[in-house]
Symmetry: D2
Subunit: 135 residues, 4 copies
Amino acid sequence: MFTSQVQVRVRYAHTDQMGYVYYGNYAEFFEIARLEALRNIGLNYKELEASGVMMPVYELYSRYLAPAAFDDLLTIKVVIKELPSARITFHYEIFNQHEQLIHIGYTTLVFISKENRKPCRAPVQLLKALQPYFE
Amino acid sequence: MFTSQVQVRVRYAHTDQMGYVYYGNYAEFFEIARLEALRNIGLNYKELEASGVMMPVYELYSRYLAPAAFDDLLTIKVVIKELPSARITFHYEIFNQHEQLIHIGYTTLVFISKENRKPCRAPVQLLKALQPYFE
Amino acid sequence: MFTSQVQVRVRYAHTDQMGYVYYGNYAEFFEIARLEALRNIGLNYKELEASGVMMPVYELYSRYLAPAAFDDLLTIKVVIKELPSARITFHYEIFNQHEQLIHIGYTTLVFISKENRKPCRAPVQLLKALQPYFE
Amino acid sequence: MFTSQVQVRVRYAHTDQMGYVYYGNYAEFFEIARLEALRNIGLNYKELEASGVMMPVYELYSRYLAPAAFDDLLTIKVVIKELPSARITFHYEIFNQHEQLIHIGYTTLVFISKENRKPCRAPVQLLKALQPYFE
């Protein structure tokens, strides 16, 4: 199992008139969390894409347990429970600065060849980087 | 069962460098769809909120079947399958201008009193407006 | 002189915790206004780009005279005062549903070849469509 | 004169189909830059607002000298040239990781009482924190 932690500051731009983070902005938090989690093990998504593989999101799930407010410093725990095959699933738990769990969710991404925009295998460098966490 | 249809134009702002709509922007499309669906039966969410009831999202699910591109004219089919009780669930199907189903999802919203920020009952005007579709 | 009018509904996603439209979202309103203004005279920006010319923004100016609120129905008046040469400038005036002028601004865009990403001339179809308004 | 520096990572969510940062997203970068610049001298905007003063943007200007791309690590130089009176102006210069100046701009903000939503004086704690830089 692979786990990682990333911090995100809530910006004014993220809030809506309820005074909390707009529900659509958690997808961006998830994006930051999974890309920084990969960067933590030496994987740069920009380079993955440059090498010919895009990873569009196939499935998104979010549960809003408690709101996040402007200027909150969120800690996002990212978990990959299985080595990727045709897909890769990232699970997320978001905690605020009071260590309250405020959000859970996951995203499943697929691997698409940049050239022909068809499904392809998980890139070797991704598998290599994750392998040690599943032994 | 209540059903309604709403159209949304994809803007440049919605796209990302894959050349498609960024996955986080579907939440905004869902928001437009459910609020316009309610407006179609005489319900204005702004007035609902002014009357003291907010409807934050509790759960979001999205499945990305095919991408949406800049300038696409999307048709979003909104369905409410059950009369709201403590929660209300909106189901969405998004079709592009070629009548291809590109996205399915749902959002579950709860009712919160604006005054004390605690759960409350569904507003009477919402129940009244939806009642005829469930008889 | 070319003028056109476009309407935009303020969404929940546009608001921030002040209860008004977040200042960064006017750029998207401007985008909608100028693209719909061009569409009104038979010009589709997507086709312009497909024909090889991109129009990135070079300059943006916004003055916030009064706030816009959730669910406001904004009318955006778009004006082109001069035929484009190396650049094209769109001027905007935004009115709310009470006919109050709440925002003024402009954007200057340049023409870039999609192939070599270098400056190029204004596309012929754009000049042809605008010509009648400057005679 | 007060100057400060802040870093921002470009996210996938910031890009559009041109493959660069969407022009409307620089406003959010400016927000991050000015709030972090204030935090660097012990001022927390959230607390300013809680103390009764909001700072809505009155004027925004952006010039796009070169594009920013996904995963770029931007350095934003923030400058305040004059002690605030009825207004405060933040000037910005954005550099990419190759030390190329890619963007300049400014925002002018006003001080509004949260209670009556009318113009008010600059908060004392803001003036006190900035004073040493103008002596």
